[in-house]
Amino acid sequence: MDDAITDDQRMLLDASARLMADTCPLERIREKAYADETFAVAYRRQAADLGWYSMLVPESLGGGTISGNGVLDAALIAYQRGRLLQPGPFVGTNVVAYALAIGGSQEHHGKVLAALMSGEVSASWVVTDSPGAPAMDGVVSATRTAAGYRLSGDATFVEDPGPDGWFLITAAGADGPGLFLVGRDDPGLRVEPLGSLDITRTFLALHLDALDVPESSLVENDGSAADLIDSLLALACVLMTAESVGAMDHELAMTVQYAKDRIAFGRPIGSFQAVKHSLADTSLLLEMSKAIARAAAQHVGDGDGYGPQAASMAKAFVGDCGIDLAQSCFQTFGGIGFTWEHDQHLYLRRLTSDAAFFGDPVWHREHLCQLSGI
């Protein structure tokens, strides 16, 4: 995915890779180091210095891209993050930063956007109901009150932004969907920590029981929230997909190495066609995933109108391929892959969760048909 990139992009990726390897390698992930807020803030600040949370924000608001296509830049970072299964809502923070940049008030810019870009806090986009489909028309309901809005309903599959973090909640109002910025620490919000197959991220369910929010929490109040939500989904899909592709890349590399080293029946197992052909097929899945992820980032970044289709296609394709790849690598590792100490299960868990996060392949294929007018 980072095959043909500019020198500036290469520098960004190399610096990001160093940061992750130094600060948050897989051992830290296993220890859930990121659950410690001190660790998390320090990590995010360093990442922010590299521009992790600024790529989708215009220069006028303090952001800026490396290559001119900020979506591609952010996707390349996501790809690097995926390789080492990095924690934290990178996708959510960028998506929310974009939403605030496009539709937020000056107060949002000053109070929240700046803190997101500097790594001070994180954010998550809340758009998913049970059993896991994006609720484009709103995952909770919003009704007008004298002082603002009242939000009611439940949401799940929300990545935890950590203390002081923000949620951008997609809510169904009388005139269509709207987006509301709510603090994680809002006392009216019930935040339920969830157990998860994926142990590299932390997920929440949110319960809004008539949560009153002020007028000022509304983002993009000029009536075009539906379009903005479409854009947010496309962005979320592109970045999630890129993270998955990074994880796939790293896992396949581990597996190929194992197939070269492991001996059975007097030969390295990679010399058997059963293993070799499975790895070749898996490698093809990876190359196709890289290609479609990059194409989607390009379309979304170019704003050529094909972004939502391309993003849903990439999300569906990579969602399936990620699980296929993880399953196939597991089979190659054999017994050793069943041990907690081996890393393959971390990748299997993450890729399986990624496939459903922000809409599973079935949902995105149907969505593609609808976007295509059938």
């Binding site: 799940t156 029946f265 017994g335 399986t352 459903a356 079935v362």
Partner: protein
Amino acid sequence: MTVSVEEFRDDVRGWLEGNLERIPADVPPRGGEAVTDEQVAASRVIQRRIFDAGYAGLSFPVEYGGRGLGVDHERVWREEARSFVIPTFGGAGSVTMGPIARSMLAHATPDFLARHIPKILAGEELWCQFYSEPAAGSDLAGIRTTANRDGDRWVLNGSKIWSTGAHQADFAMCLARTDWDAPKHRGLTWFAVSTHAPGVDVRPIRQINGASGFCESFLTDVAITDDDLIGEVNQGWSVAQTMLVYERGAGESGAQRVEPLELAPDLVDLARKAGRECDPMARQAIARAHINDFAQYHLGRQIAARLQRSDTPQPAVAAYGKLAAGMLSPIRARLGIEIGGAEALLWPKDAGETDTEPPTPALNYLNGRMVSIAAGTNEVQRNGLGERVLGLPREPTFDSTKPFREVVRDSRNWNGRVG
């Protein structure tokens, strides 16, 4: 003295009713094979009761404490006992009663059998296998654990892995290399080893699902005698062939024991929880799972019948059942995740579940490849089916004729060029 199946059913019903407890209606069946030490202890008591009443080892020879009956009687027992609290020895229990006891019966001396089989049937001896090794997984005969002759003793050294339930077993059936200068398959021998013997160190392995049903074991100068031999010296591979047939559950491995008639109840339940029981894609997935279950069950029945009609063990044919399980188990687990979505991937933490002990669909997913890998990978089954059932020409082998010592040496210099 044979008893008819229907007469036997009446006997069983009566005895069960009077002697075992019914499973309370509100206890859900739990997946996974791990049992606690307390469960094992309680199970020994119940097993003793069953043994004393003559219902243990229904198909085992009478002279070793069994009843000498057939598979039909065993099926009747299974059907009737289903709603009662019967012994659960976990993985070690199935291994003991299946591959271990069966291959002992075929290969051990009468003296050995008289010493061990009655105790096995009575729940006194729980066994495990010391078979796989870190460097001998799919390559089952690539054993490096060594038994050296030392006077009238044998001295064992090496390490074993993936021993089901070894931490709860009393004995291990251990495969060791007794001749490094013979070709790979001709220098192996099976021994009985007490897991409590000096030099035996058994450690549970933490699995990806957080459970620890398997162990890794280290053998350091463990001393045994000829009385502990199971089969003849250097003939271990033919014992392994018998064992393999029962490892693969005589064709029924992984399949349900009773014809699955109800539409995948676990997945229907999951779909309901996820609000997807009317979703056409979820319905397809549910139907697929049930159809596969049904086909797998009937494959198992057909293979078992074919094996029963045959006189010699046919591990290659039994591989159909193993491969079916190995193919379908991950598919079914994945269908569960796809049907359930967030419902399967995420769960309330306050329900007492931790990261490492997820609810059933996620647990099944993590365990989905177990049967695809353990006791012979799918790839090994395919080789066996291809060569020994379909009669396809052999894979080139580099480890079949030369001394095993040389196989180990040459494998480090692989270049693939033969001619």
